[in-house]
């Protein structure tokens, strides 16, 4: 799971809090989670390239890169597994330039505006997608 924006700005929980609830929820669902966070587009892409081999599903919050990175879209497009895009805030109520997501072009589904719980919902949805 890739998380890039500061949760302080977007809810009361810290990134550590979110990772912890995800870990707990993932365990309940029988999913093994690996967390990854970086401010570097290159590192995110390297991580996604690695995911081709080591991931059954990807949950991604690409932060501001969501709106500008064609390279992320390309890295996600190589993946054959399900991809769920998460945003803490509802990007479709924000500035115009935040209302377009390159990530969506390669995502199975999108969950946004539901805060930290968005990650838990994504895990639940991923579980279902992996069952089908």
């Amino acid at each position: 799971m890739l998380g890039k924006r500061e949760p302080k700005l977007y809810g009361k929980q810290t990134l550590a809090d979110i990772e912890k609830s995800c870990a707990v929820h993932g365990k309940k669902l029988g999913l093994k989670l690996v967390f990854f966070q970086s401010n570097s587009e290159g590192e995110l892409i390297d991580r996604l390239h690695a995911a081709v081999k080591d991931a059954a599903g990807v949950i991604i919050n690409a932060g501001a890169l969501t709106h500008t990175s064609v390279a992320l879209l390309d890295a996600l497009s190589i993946l054959k597994c399900p991809v769920i895009e998460v945003h803490l805030s509802n990007i479709y109520r924000r500035e115009k330039f935040r209302q377009h997501s390159y990530v969506s072009g390669a995502a199975t589904g999108v969950i946004c505006g539901l805060g930290a719980e968005g990650y838990l919902l994504a895990l639940t949805a991923m579980k279902t997608l992996l069952k089908n």
Copy 2:
């Protein structure tokens, strides 16, 4: 819950199936659900106006009206309760005119592309929103 598009096109479940799983899931969460479906913008708006008094939260899939109805945006804006927008398909991978949602302008959060399960996730999220 307002649902307007044919689930046959967007997944294997019928609207009745979705309503049933929602009812089951809602019961588990302790939420009392009321379903509403109409092809008429006017009826949807009338229902939303009624929701000002009789609803603690609204989960809405406005189908094609999502992209064209300022009137729905206005009806949703009057509501003070949480609103979750659901789409069976990922509208952000579809035609350009489907990538803008007037509903989002009044929604707390958006869940799309995750099929019928999107409604169940929305119920879970609503439960959390109502607790806070």
Copy 3:
């Protein structure tokens, strides 16, 4: 007179209050008023089609349909009588999509941003238009 948006949002008076002051003001001007309110575009159009025969003038607040309904423009264009468009708020200071009115394309004049009094001013103007 067609009114579609909630006056609670746009001023202190209820729709009933506005209808009452209109009735009083209309009486003073010697105008016979018929009120019509609906959230359905189809019903508004049916009403306007009827107006071809039963109305000497139309004062219309088409609410959110103002910005999206070519069908309303067509229904108004059939009328040969004066048409005055009223909005409680100044739509030209609001979101970009509220700054275009299809109704204006068929209206003699527009009054907006002057709250409930806008209807009274419209009645006064209508009186003058009918005299000429």
Copy 4:
């Protein structure tokens, strides 16, 4: 056949006249016609949904909704039978906003600008399409 705009504006024949000539022409072609007219988008959609079961072909003049209704596009897209779009006037010589048709996105063919005869031509074309 769905017809929504006033033929008075767009030719000398009334809607009844057009229905009559269509009936005569349809009979000659061995086609059984059902007419439907409404100013309500919802009712048109309900009728098109019913057409999935009861129609071998659809000839539609969606009037002003042509230019604004994604919901009509979606309702037509569900149909597997041929769809012919008819307009009395040549919409491609009119205002810019009338030069885009959502209906065309789901139509086999388009006939416009040929007045009431457009319906008869559509019937002839439908006959051919049903033969192939």
Copy 5:
């Protein structure tokens, strides 16, 4: 009150006629009117700057400057009193470049398309605004 366009073009009354009916109507309403007319944007702005001190309300018809003058918008924005924008013709039925008004960005309300009577309606509305 600032008036800038030729009424000859936009109705039968001369500017003098309009001023006279305004004076009569203003007297009836108990309002003291000061007229100002200029073809110079700079003079209009100087007058509006003076209005900060000497006016309880402003009724403005900025003519063609309506569509081009950010400076007028800024001068009006400084005012704390009500501002009513008047146009003799319905600018929203005219050329595209006349359908945007910088003046509206600072106006309480807009009255257009009702000819010289628009000024009288504006005076009536101003009276009400000043009472509240």
Copy 6:
């Protein structure tokens, strides 16, 4: 009749087949047909200029020039006789740049998406237009 695009791409019939069915249908309608085909805009224009004198009506399929040739629009605008625009495919479901037709700006009517039969329908319509 001007035809420019390859029917192989747009239906099973060759241009010769189409010309033959047109000839048969034209004979039945009592219309005398002259066929003209060219890949040169200049030759098409020369032919249309000649049509001012020798044609009672024009049925034109301008192929790709439909979308780019202001010169064709001008040549058609000189004609006082009816003009019917035909396209084998439904150009309004194709690439964006094919959804604008300069030819439509001078056409009485448009028939598209109905394959080779479109020409026959155009002949029928032309017969009616010439009778009126």
Copy 7:
């Protein structure tokens, strides 16, 4: 004749030189010329308003106001006499914002890019226009 831009920038002749050659050429043509130059939009408009009474034709180089002044367009539109727009440089080869002229919307003809001689050509053309 209204001239507003510096000829030094746009050719070797000074404004005085141009006025002189215009006077000479006007005399030859039997035209009586009145020159007017101002950097103020308001003064130009006042002058054009006066022209309604005192001019048989107007030759105008509105300089940079060409591209921004709707007020000039309106002032020119009141005139019933011929109006010829002159520019020293070819504005259609310059920056995009110089390629739109509000003045053209009210001009009989345009002459640009031919330097100071443009004024003489305009005088010749005006002579012809006044003869017809």
Copy 8:
């Protein structure tokens, strides 16, 4: 001189009339004229390529190709002699697509809206340009 549009539409004179007055005026100016008219872009380009060698100046009315032909722009750009663009009508008061000229991108000057006299003015201007 290349002329492509029908003068009948744009003035009382025929192309022959214009050629005749041009010949007379050219003789007076001491200019030797060669006329060329074609509806084919390719022929116009071939003629312009020849002009590299045989012309001291070019006066061109490219008709509708003005607005669409980059190839004409390129052919004119090769020329080192003066180029004057002429239009019988004022293209800047017509449809939007007629307000852009590729020809202008390679023209010394533009004369439009002054009818057949535009050609004579162009000859006069050309004489001056060739003297400098």
Copy 9:
């Protein structure tokens, strides 16, 4: 130095205060300052034309004209001395129409958002530019 907008809106200092601090700072730098303020575009242009002769550098805050005046751009383009554009507020965080400056097209540099101190910084920068 040209200053046009009200400093009251954009900082605590009055225009007089700013002029005073500029005078003090200019003296320290050994620069002789001349202040000019006007709400008239024409007067500003006249002043800039005079600056061709009497100024070694220009510091300009063109207020709202910044965004609309091509004439100011032209007047500034004639100057050969350095030009520094100052804005009290950061115009690039404001409404879209304030984010384009015609003045910038002729300015050496821009300082904005730093309040009244922007003028002092501009004086310092001007001193350096004049030294080089």
Copy 10:
């Protein structure tokens, strides 16, 4: 091979020089070349239609028609053989209207900005494409 623009403008070699080096290089590669050059869109299309039968591959430099000709795109789209688009200059560093190529929509590959050598590279690439 179709070549339409003047090589003099775009490199030191003449069209003849290019044809000669192409012939030499083609011989080395074992390719049989046929050259074709025309300024007429119609002739180019006729040639491309013939290529359906007589060509194993097409190398095309459509000059200015690249940017405007949908008809060329259609003619190229019929071809099943490889198509390589060549431009002497780098069109993507030139005017905006030269940065869109209709030809690219039907081309296997594009080579531009490498001068006359671009044709040789295209021949080499064609050889490889024909081998696969």
Copy 11:
């Protein structure tokens, strides 16, 4: 202070020269400076995140990232201290894509076009901002 573009291109001083003058000027102002330079968006963001704790003010020249990086905007938006954006060249006179700055959306002020001195001016302005 973040500096990313090559000063060689934008003035005679090297980055080292600029750092040195900044150090000298900062010392004079009593400001303690920390320099940071990187070509990696991720590193710049990491540095800005650190600035939340260790900086009283930020002076940033984001080079080309200015125009593309929403992530930088977000990183700057977290800061509560003053932010001054500096560019060596006047970006508002350059290509269109350089005329939009995401950095400005979070900057207190902007200084551009004044070369290396821009940094010194920024330091002076920062000193003042920190005093208030």
Copy 12:
């Protein structure tokens, strides 16, 4: 040579295969090659900065950064040596956002759509460019 996208997606050869054929072809041409691959924009820019000193020519495939990175454009613009842009696929037949390349703004030439052979062609072209 900078290569950033996965060759698996864009042809049968791996990046290693391409490097090997490039090495072989480069050797034949007498060129010494240095390969560089990174998913980080910053590292690519650092490498290009180094190329100012250590490269006689640059062949670059910037992958998805092609479409978004002004920083790459700037880094390439500093280079005085030839730059050839290569893409495995024909980017001009893909999504709209892939049809603009910032890299092209600084490239001598572009080769795209010719798969891995594009690199070999680029080497051949580079050899020629270095000879001139």
